[in-house]
């Protein structure tokens, strides 16, 4: 039961971890010869995070057999805060401990205990989405921040013509439109118009952190169904969030 991998951009790695830590307290990395996977629910079971990194995303990668590594994300986040630009990060499990090395001007090794997390096997998400929108993650982040000014719920709407992010409350209304011609909208497919509302608290936590990882985000949803937000990781692999809708 051991493995070792090196991720060449410690800052990128830190953003991935922070992005997961925004929703998850504890989760298990499943490390196999093919790559690293993590799938976990937030404590309220409103959101699910699904991370997949193929072994090719790493600068160095060695793993003989599947190894499960339970970690506390809050602790790991604090360690990774210590990363500087141009640092590399190495993970190694041996002898029941997790060793995290930050390799830069000096090599700093943190050793963490592995925690035992009840292994709840989560099913592969399968939802029939009717709208698929690929757009600049910055633009989505701005729209979500705008919505937070107004309300605690955000509404996503996809029609033939345009994708819109809306919020409303007694404080006022907000509408951010992404037309087919707008520069932010990269790809747009609608098989059936879709409208659904989601918690802004979750949406904000997801988008604000993940926008740092990837320039583009793919949003998939359907009327009163969950939304999936997919962030492609530049070095390979992807981070997907599923968020349950709010029923108003």
């Amino acid at each position: 039961m051991s493995f070792r991998f090196v991720f060449s951009d410690a800052r990128e790695w830190r953003y991935i971890i922070e992005s997961i830590a925004a929703l998850i307290e504890e989760a298990t990395f499943v490390v196999t010869p093919e790559g690293v996977k993590l799938r976990a629910l937030d404590p309220s079971r409103v959101a699910m995070v699904d991370l997949e990194l193929p072994s090719t995303a790493f600068e160095e990668y060695s793993c003989e057999a599947e190894t499960r590594v339970g970690v506390n994300f809050d602790d790991m986040k604090k360690i990774l805060k210590r990363c500087k630009k141009d640092d590399k990060v190495e993970y190694e499990v041996a002898g029941g401990k997790l060793k995290i090395k930050i390799i830069g001007k000096a090599t700093r090794s943190f050793v963490l205990p592995l925690i035992d997390i009840g292994a709840e096997t989560l099913p592969t998400p399968r939802v029939a989405f009717t709208a698929r929108v690929k757009l600049l993650s910055d633009a989505v982040e701005e729209a979500i921040r705008d919505a937070e000014v107004i309300a605690d719920t955000v509404k996503l709407e996809a029609s033939e013509e345009m994708f819109a992010i809306k919020a409303m409350s007694d404080k006022g209304d907000l509408e951010v439109q992404f037309g087919r011609e707008s520069g932010s909208l990269i790809e747009y497919e609608v098989t059936e118009p879709a409208v659904a509302s989601y918690s802004l608290e979750y949406m904000g936590d997801i988008v604000k952190k993940s926008a740092k990882i990837a320039d583009l985000v793919t949003i998939e949803f359907a009327t009163n169904k969950p939304v999936a937000l997919t962030f492609e990781i530049p070095l390979g692999g992807r981070l997907v969030y599923y968020l349950a809708p709010r029923m108003e």
Binding site: S44, R45, V46, E120, P123, P125, D152, A244, M247, E248
Partner: protein, 600 residues
């Protein structure tokens, strides 16, 4: 680990809520306790009490209604606004949660959409509820609020609507089941100790270690023999002894056998103080943990209590360090806060007056007579101007008792506590008995008008008032004898400017001895020719053996004094001393005073 389903606990809670009979309540509790595995019996009991640990531990969840509603919103997927509206309509967050969850149960978890067959629907257990609440309480520091919300949301998302109702009531401190601690003891005796006969043993344990969860755990594991081993432990508060009350000196002396200890009953906060090496813990009369509010008292105890370990009792009283006057209880209340403790400590300094001693270095003293306990207390206390024994003396006649009583009142105390001197005068934990009798007035008067008084002397100040006067000795005019008779010492109400100017203002009038027209039993530091008049208001006019104003007019051997006097800021330079308020007027004011009957 063995556990009990939370739904079973909730069932009993619902039944308890719908009964008003104590016997039925006890029966329901017995039923629940017998069903509960020993591993979680303490958790069940704490939950029923609406607390995670006994109050005296001072652990708080740190979740208000706002946060609770946010957690409910996350768990239910219902908007915060809808929840707020429902709560407003119903007025009980627990019920509101039950309603919201019942109507909006569907489609809140992401699992519902993943075609998840593996999605386990675990049933909540008491252990899981308690442990999560404990995690919520322990989350501190940066991001603690978010952690608390998400933990509570996760708990609520696993709870049935009925369970959520009780969880939210617990969290917001509104469980209100009306189950008294004594009822829980009854039920424990019934369930595990063979009934009422053993109830006394349990109650004794509760007196020395008021923690029902702990008592239950020991009882279930070790039986009644384990309970018998309970001893006073420094750090764990004991239930305080309480006093009966009478309002006549003759009745009190008769009750106590003609001779007793009379002790000032200060107008402060009764404190049970535990010293364990360098650690000091302070409990209120109701056993709340007050340690955080009184770091200065902790320091005084560390420095001036000479034993290694001790449990002592005393009264914390606010005072004015510049004049040395004791201040009323309301001033001390500024110290009961969580934030800006340092600032409150500076603005409202306190003194500590000790009156009892229950434990010293391994020796339990509760069964020792009072004089022995006092002797022990005297041995371990190093008296200073801020830590001392509560003023006390032994009296054996009503005249002395009343004089001492009036002295206490005029010095800002509430009255006296008269205590038995006999051999059986033990410390009765948790009991109100006739060994201690409060001597308080039945009424409190109110002084509604200001008076104009003549300054006849002054006392040097301390601290910030060093180099100037800390307080003035004030007198009323008696035209019949053409003398000025003292009525109070006043150091409050002066602005910093006034204070700085005091010696200058009085300089022309300073004389090396008491003026022949001044009648005073108090020795001032500086004496004045009666000349300057000030406007003063006080809380009330009381009898006092220390002052000469109206001496003998109301009662033989006592005069009148103004309690808690305060300069209004008006110098009456326009008035001659002979135009000051007269002694006769003060006597009239005393007689006319509005008497507010005190609650018993």
């Amino acid at each position: 680990m063995a556990d009990i389903k939370f739904s079973e606990v909730v069932k009993i809670l619902e039944a308890i809520e719908s009964t008003s009979k104590r016997t039925e309540m006890t029966k329901l509790l017995v039923l629940l306790f017998k069903k509960t595995p020993s591993e979680v019996i303490d958790k069940v009991i704490y939950f029923i009490q609406g607390q995670l640990l006994p109050d005296w531990v001072g652990l708080e969840l740190g979740i208000g209604e706002k946060l609770a509603m946010r957690a409910l919103s996350i768990a239910s997927g219902v908007s915060l606004r809808t929840i707020e509206e429902t709560y407003k309509k119903i007025g009980d967050l627990g019920e509101a949660a039950e309603r919201v969850l019942t109507s909006k149960r569907r489609g809140t978890s992401i699992l519902d959409f993943l075609g998840a067959t593996g999605a386990t629907t675990r049933e909540l257990t008491m252990g899981r509820v308690y442990d999560t609440l404990m995690k919520i309480a322990k989350a501190t520091g940066e991001g603690a609020q978010d952690t608390k919300i998400s933990l509570l949301a996760s708990l609520l998302s696993e709870a049935s609507p009925r369970e959520a109702k009780y969880i939210l009531r617990f969290v917001t401190g509104r469980l209100r089941l009306g189950v008294a601690d004594m009822t829980i003891l009854d039920a424990l005796a019934e369930a595990f100790a063979g009934g009422k006969a053993r109830r006394d043993i349990l109650e004794r344990a509760y007196n020395v270690h008021p923690d029902l969860g702990y008592i239950a755990k020991v009882l279930v594991r070790e039986g009644i023999e384990g309970i018998k081993k309970f001893r006073i432990t420094p750090g764990v508060p004991v239930l305080p002894m309480l006093a009966e009350r009478l309002s006549s000196s003759s009745e009190i002396l008769a009750k106590l056998g003609g001779r007793c200890i009379a002790e000032y009953k200060y107008d402060g906060e009764r404190a049970q103080i535990h010293k364990i090496g360098d650690k000091v813990v302070i409990y209120s009369r109701r056993l709340e943990n007050l340690t955080h509010a009184f770091p200065d008292v902790c320091e005084l105890v560390r420095k001036h209590i000479k034993s290694k370990e001790a449990i002592i009792e005393g009264e914390i009283v606010a005072y004015n360090p510049e004049t040395d006057e004791l201040l009323p209880f309301q001033e001390l209340m500024h110290r009961r806060r969580k934030h800006n403790v340092e600032e409150a400590m500076r603005m409202y300094p306190v003194k500590l007056f000790l009156f009892d001693c229950l434990y010293v270095d391994g020796e339990e003293l509760t069964d020792a007579p009072l004089l022995m306990r006092k002797k022990k207390l005297i041995e371990i206390v190093e008296e200073t101007d801020r830590v001392s024994l509560a003023r006390w003396r032994i009296v054996d006649n009503t005249k002395d008792l009343e004089l001492f009583f009036n002295e206490a009142i005029s010095e800002g105390c509430e009255g006296l506590v008269c205590k038995s001197l006999k051999g059986d005068s033990i410390y009765q934990m948790g009991a109100r008995g006739w060994l201690w009798i409060k001597f308080k007035r039945d009424y409190r008067s109110e002084m509604t008008d200001t008076v104009d008084l003549v300054a006849v002397g002054a006392f040097w100040g301390k601290g910030k008032r060093g180099g100037t006067y800390g307080a003035l000795l004030l007198a009323a005019y008696d035209p019949e004898t053409d003398t000025f008779k003292t009525v109070c010492k006043c150091g409050s109400g002066f602005t910093d400017e006034d204070l700085a100017r005091l010696p200058e203002i009085f300089k022309p009038y300073v004389i090396p001895h008491k003026h022949p027209r001044v009648d005073s039993k108090i020795e001032a530091d500086v004496w004045f020719v009666p000349a300057i008049v000030l406007e003063v208001i006080g809380a009330e006019i009381t009898l006092s053996p220390l002052h000469t104003c109206g001496y003998g007019a109301i009662k033989e051997g006592v005069g009148l004094a103004i309690r808690f006097p305060r300069f209004t800021g008006r110098w009456r330079f326009d008035k001659k001393p002979e135009q000051a308020t007269t002694v006769k007027e003060i006597i009239e004011m005393y007689k006319r005073q509005k008497k507010v009957v005190r609650e018993a």
